[in-house]
């Protein structure tokens, strides 16, 4: 019995559970195990298969109590995926940029041809891309599609998240 409690205590120390909390949990566990033993209830009967893996038992208890981070594989499932956040940010930025490009009427991109003449260098504008150019509309269209796709990904991700695990 005391071996089990000592194993738990060591695990809590290793996990960084504050000493007063670890002592409290160890004392509660020792008292309960002692009482169970006095009543003829075996440790196995009281703790079930946990008795075979004190480290896991101690880690689960501490995590459920919120005194250490949840074990990997539980918390990480609920974490927001970085790639999804980044993709959404890019899509939103693209929509804003396209909208701004369309909102401003001035030509913004020009193809300029330079030529050297005996009188000096002359530059002539060959082509200007204005707000009315299809490129902004295409950008806006693609950005909106990307935003919609991001919304669908968020929806799928939130549906696929595991529910709060029962005991």
């Amino acid at each position: 019995m005391s071996d089990f409690v000592e194993e738990c205590r060591r695990e809590w120390r290793r996990l960084g559970v504050p000493d007063p909390l670890a002592e409290e949990m160890a004392a509660d566990l020792a008292s309960d195990l002692g009482e169970a033993e006095a009543e003829g209830v075996s440790v196995e009967e009281f703790l079930g298969s946990s008795v075979l893996d004190p480290r896991s038992f101690a880690a689960t208890w501490a995590a459920e109590r919120g005194v250490i981070p949840e074990p990997p594989g539980r918390g990480s499932d609920r974490r927001t995926p970085f790639a999804l956040v980044a993709f959404t940010a890019v899509a939103v930025t693209a929509v804003i940029v396209a909208a701004l490009l369309l909102a401003t009427g001035e030509p913004k991109l020009s193809l300029v041809r330079s030529s050297t003449t005996p009188a000096g260098t002359t530059r002539s504008v060959v082509h200007s891309v204005s707000a009315a150019s299809p490129i902004e509309w295409i950008l806006l269209f693609v950005a909106i599609i990307a935003l919609g796709f991001a919304a669908w990904l968020w929806s799928s991700w939130s549906r696929s998240r595991p529910p709060t695990a029962p005991a």
Partner: protein, 118 residues
């Protein structure tokens, strides 16, 4: 498909053990082992993996129980648990959900006439 009896029982119990704990501590504050005794008296032995401690830890973290330390009968001071206000609300809601689920499952399983031969 079928799991052995004790395993199925453990799985069934796992989903409502938090309600059972809230219910027995609602009858009167109790420490960990005392709760298992109250459950055992009603035929609910905590079997299989895990125990009540992680669950009590979660209930405490979620603010569903209040705790205090007091001396037990002739023993060392124990940590007593009782449902908080939020815990009693959670208990009431959980019991309603359990009854609805139980009735639905009963409506499916009740007509089954097959019995296990002894």
């Amino acid at each position: 498909m079928a799991s052995p009896g004790p395993q199925r029982r453990t799985e069934l119990l796992r989903g409502v053990l938090d309600l059972c704990l809230l219910a027995v501590m609602d009858e009167g504050p109790a420490y960990g082992y005392e709760m298992t005794k109250r459950l055992r008296e009603r035929g609910l032995a905590i079997v299989g993996e895990g125990s009540i401690y992680p669950l009590l830890g979660r209930l405490e973290r979620d603010g569903l129980v209040e705790t205090y330390r007091a001396a037990s009968n002739g023993g060392p001071p124990r940590k007593y648990y009782r449902p908080s206000r939020a815990g009693r609300v959670a208990l009431a809601m959980g019991v309603a959900e359990w009854r609805a689920a139980r009735d639905a499952v009963d409506s499916v399983l009740a007509p089954v006439k097959i019995e296990v031969a002894s």
